[in-house]
């Protein structure tokens, strides 16, 4: 019932509000807060810690934008959204950006939202208890799969089942927690979602994480990408280049600790990145040192990754395809000039 009220409210706000004339940047600066959509709790990617402070890879992506626009990584309000509320919330302006393990798909892109820069590349995976003895999709004959609605995974279940003639029976839940609980209670043989979130669930909800195996559901890797609403190109650029600042900083070897030592660098590209040579900030409608401030506040992409989901975190994910292109990954820094 509650979510129906939320949906109706979202619809109603689409009905009643006249179109916004003000730019998103101005709105955010006037408000003094950035509002980001967040998950209902996927530790490592986005969840409040014991003190109620939001942490995670997606959360820090949002904080990077807050640093760029408001010069304060804590000037952010996070709105937990179900998979199904998140896109309408973005389209209707309830939130300014949506960094929430959102897969970049054509249908979503064409229908009212713009994707920015991928902050995580991952396959869609199945997690199954090891004692069932199944290690690949082809052996999942007759398996029952817990699915949460509001994601691309529902379609993946149907496609995989048809492709390998598996006769999978899906049990679909409208909220993430219910799907996960049903899986751990044994209602389903498998849980499906993107493999990063599976690792998060395994690390935080399983009694013995070692008892569960994660394997790819399809051969395809998806780009999980923060999105913004259609209709504000400047805002799209700001979010894009704030995420780029994290990636570029890593390619330059700039970290939270050493960035101050590079302020007198001879490399013209680093000088422009840091705002020592001006131009980049003004072009985006931000202060010249926005990239410097992002790295100073949060570190580079590698630091953000390791802190939240890397080998030292409970999730213990390897950089793999999320490493810089120069290390064989897919993270590619664009030219800061």
């Amino acid at each position: 019932m509650k979510r129906m009220i939320v949906m109706t409210a979202l619809c109603a706000s689409a009905l009643a509000l006249p179109a916004l004339a003000q730019s998103t940047r101005d709105t955010v600066q006037e408000r003094g807060r950035l509002i980001c959509g967040a998950s209902q709790g996927t530790p490592g990617f986005g969840a409040p810690d014991d003190d109620g402070y939001w942490r995670g890879l997606d959360i820090e992506t949002c904080r990077a934008v807050a640093v760029a626009v408001l010069d304060d990584k804590d000037a952010v309000d996070f709105v937990p959204l179900t998979g199904q509320q998140r896109i309408p919330a973005l389209q209707t302006g309830e939130i300014d950006m949506l960094p929430r393990t959102l897969t970049w798909t054509l249908q979503r892109d064409a229908n009212g939202i713009n994707f920015t820069t991928p902050n995580y590349f991952e396959f869609t995976g199945f997690m199954m208890p090891r004692d069932l003895g199944i290690e690949r999709v082809e052996d999942m004959q007759g398996a029952t799969v817990c699915v949460q609605t509001g994601s691309t995974t529902e379609v993946v279940v149907a496609d995989v089942s048809k492709k390998h003639d598996l006769d999978l029976s899906p049990v679909v839940f409208d909220n993430t927690t219910a799907a996960r609980q049903a899986f751990f209670s044994g209602r389903c043989d498998a849980l499906i979602t993107d493999a990063g979130a599976l690792a998060s669930v395994r690390a935080t909800m399983a009694e013995a994480p070692g008892d569960y195996l994660i394997f790819p559901a399809t051969p395809y890797v998806d780009a999980l990408t923060p999105a913004v609403a259609h209709g504000d190109d400047q805002w799209l650029d700001i979010v894009n280049w704030s995420i780029q600042a994290l990636i570029a900083a890593e390619s330059f070897g700039l970290t939270q600790d050493n960035i101050d030592d590079h302020m007198d660098s001879d490399d013209p590209r680093i000088r422009r990145f840091l705002g020592v040579d001006p131009g980049n900030g003004a072009a985006l409608g931000l202060s010249e040192d926005f990239a410097y401030r992002i790295v100073k506040a949060l570190g580079n992409y590698g630091e953000v990754f390791e802190r939240n989901v890397g080998m030292d975190s409970p999730l213990q994910l390897e950089r793999g395809r999320n490493a810089l292109f120069s290390d064989g990954g897919l993270m590619f820094p664009l030219a800061f000039q």
Binding site: R3, A16, A19, Q91, A110, S169, V171, V172, D189
Partner: protein, 381 residues
């Protein structure tokens, strides 16, 4: 002339009504126009073209057959039939259980009336969603895994996947045979009951009718190529195959919703019975009727007048309460609509579909109950 028009209360009445209606239509027009403009500015697709595109997402269980290759329209139909199926079962079961609870609360047996009172108090005071999650928790935690399924009867398996039992396979022509079968059995019963002094006496006549019915049905089944067969569940891969399944999701929502609704129905029925005057009981006893006869032939028919109007609201809330099934993963219309919104991004259209469907169901229930109310209402002159 104008003066007299102005002072005519009829003309003035109409003028006010037309102005109000016009204002309302203009407001709706403005809202619709504004919405379309806003949606267009935000680059959100509008319209109902998506209904005919393949839905691609799976639905875990359905009354009518469904595959992800079907279109969105059919997915809605699946949601609607699931909602109707759920509502119908709940309303019938809750009415029967409620009647029992209502009568129990009036019972002279202190144990029975006490239990009924506790039941009503607990059910009415715990939020429905909590009850549903409780039953779902029980259904998904107190049974063994499918490989160690309980097997209380041959062909019946109890596990975390729900209950699997032998099921009827209906091949083409099977529906026809089933319909004919029901007809033949009804006919045979009618013939037995309606003939006061048949040759060979009643038992003999009943045997002849039953024999005739069985022979006719077997003959028809043969002519149609035996379209009905039993299928037994068997373990294949990770799950059972064949037979019919009662899923934990469906069991939880039916169980929870019925128990919850029955408490309200019980109170409505008890209220209706207590509204019938004490003199009716005394009159019945004076005529030498048994307590049972008084209850079912004198009191309940009169109580119905009081019971039917609040019962209509109760049925309507039951239909609307089925949307809580999303919490336990049963794919009624609400869950299907949520999924469609996510897949297409067309929230307004989907919510409109849901509004339309629930309005239609609720109005139909109300119309039927009003008709029934008119039938049982006291005829006064």
């Amino acid at each position: 002339m104008l003066r007299s028009l102005w002072y005519s209360s009829r003309v003035r009445g109409w003028a006010v009504q037309i102005a109000l209606l016009g204002g309302l239509l203009a407001l709706l027009w403005w809202i619709a126009g504004n919405t379309l403009q806003n949606l267009a500015e935000r680059g959100i697709r509008t319209g109902f073209d998506y209904l005919w595109r393949p839905a691609r997402f799976p639905i875990s269980e359905s009354v009518v057959s469904y595959t992800p290759a079907d279109d969105f329209f059919w997915a809605y139909v699946v949601g609607v039939t699931n909602t109707l199926w759920l509502s119908a079962i709940t309303i019938v079961a809750a009415t029967l259980l409620g009647l029992f609870v209502g009568l129990s609360r009036r019972s002279d047996n202190p144990l029975l009336s006490g239990l009924a009172r506790i039941y009503v108090t607990v059910m009415r005071n715990v939020p429905l969603i909590v009850q549903l999650l409780f039953w779902y928790g029980i259904a998904t935690s107190s049974f063994p895994a499918p490989r160690e399924a309980l097997n209380p009867l041959p062909g019946v398996f109890l596990s975390l996947r729900g209950v699997y039992a032998p099921g009827l396979i209906v091949a083409p022509g099977g529906g026809l045979l089933l319909g004919l079968g029901v007809l033949v059995v009804l006919l045979a019963i009618a013939v037995v009951l309606r003939w006061p002094r048949p040759p060979l006496g009643r038992p003999g006549w009943a045997a002849i009718c039953a024999g005739g019915a069985v022979l006719t049905l077997w003959g028809m089944s043969r002519a149609l190529g035996h379209p009905l067969a039993l299928s037994f569940p068997e373990m294949a891969g990770l799950n059972f195959r064949g037979g019919t399944q009662l899923s934990p999701e469906f069991a939880a929502i039916i169980f929870g919703l019925t128990l919850y609704t029955a408490a309200f129905v019980g109170e409505i029925i008890r209220g209706g019975i207590e509204a019938v005057g004490k003199g009716q009981w005394e009159g019945g006893r004076a005529l030498g009727l048994t307590e049972r006869q008084i209850m079912f032939r004198v009191i309940l028919p009169q109580a119905l007048r009081v019971i039917v109007p609040p019962m209509t609201s109760q049925y309507l809330s039951t239909v609307k309460n089925t949307t809580l099934a999303v919490a336990v993963g049963y794919p009624e219309l609400g869950l299907v609509v949520n999924t469609v919104i996510n897949q297409t991004g067309q929230a307004i259209e989907s919510i409109l579909v849901m509004l339309g469907v629930f309005l239609t169901i609720s109005l139909s229930v109300s119309l039927f109950m009003n008709w029934y109310n008119a039938r049982v209402a006291l005829v006064t002159r």
